[in-house]
Symmetry: C2
Subunit: 179 residues, 2 copies
């Protein structure tokens, strides 16, 4: 019989230990994301995967915020974040800091997520850009990115929910950069 | 300049075409999931990844339901689903139908998601079991499963959101079984 682990058996770090720990070299960039629930979920995923930071752009909601708290469950305390009024300014700053800029979008020259070629040994860091629920990643961001990743999909709907897309794309990077 | 694709350029199948198409051989089993928003999100992910079905157990909400609709965005029309009052009965039925039973849980003898060994060539199909938001996968289900998968995590919080976990685990199977 396989036994479930109790919270104390998971050996989760404290907020202080998390802040001092080495991070997975990825940042989530939320480009005019409308739903604060999606923002909170991105924080929770960033905490779980030990990500470097969350970058909130434009009208994307910022902590403290009631709906962010609902889905972040306290992870806005552990995960580093900052806000930029303009996505362009955010991406310029991230590029200066050495981030490779990656849009997650359905596009004509995208790389499917199962085909990405990244290697822990190269020491690269990645800013993963997720766009608005309806409009997707902004045109200004699309013009600046180094490449575009697309999650292969076979269904009737346009796309996956942003929270789910953040989790899937983050996992693929975490696996290659940290596991 | 990389161009975003329009809805009509994505060549998404109609609901009728989806129903007739060959499916990714995975089912999502929701074992007493409290949030109907999580249920709707599981439907949307099942649609996107062309999954065989969604199996709702116990008090997990069923369509038609206002909160499921909010996050499913119509995917309850494309994705096959059924409900069982008891998770045990559901898992017995799925096993009889040839499904391998897999819990997604933090457990003492779990296999980390990056280590799973599955192969498209074997023609296997998998029932992926996700548990209640607080209690996790039920003990009765844990006793019945063939193996347990755990998503590696490095954060301060207990776990990822269910919707996000469904997406991440489904993606890993979709990649190995379909991409």
């Amino acid at each position: 019989m396989i036994k479930k682990l109790k919270m104390e058996e998971l050996n989760r770090p404290s907020v202080e230990a998390f802040k001092e720990a080495e991070k997975t070299p990825i940042a989530f960039v939320l480009d005019d994301v409308r739903s604060a629930l999606n923002v909170g979920s991105a924080f929770r995923t960033a905490d779980a995967f030990g990500c470097a930071e969350v970058v909130l752009c434009g009208f994307t909601a910022q902590p403290p915020h009631r709906e962010i708290m609902k889905t972040a469950l306290g992870s806005t305390e552990s995960v580093a974040w900052r806000h930029f009024s303009e996505t362009q300014t955010a991406l310029e700053a991230l590029r200066t800091e050495g981030y490779i800029l990656v849009a997650v979008e359905q596009a004509d020259a995208s790389i499917f997520l199962d085909q990405i070629d990244i290697d822990q040994q190269k020491g690269e860091k990645f800013a993963l850009i997720f766009g608005n629920e309806v409009e997707g990643v902004s045109e200004i961001a699309m013009e600046m990115v180094d490449f575009v990743i697309e999650i292969p999909q076979f269904g009737t709907k346009h796309s996956l929910n942003i929270s789910v897309s953040v989790g899937i794309v983050a996992w693929e990077f975490v696996k290659k950069l940290r596991c």
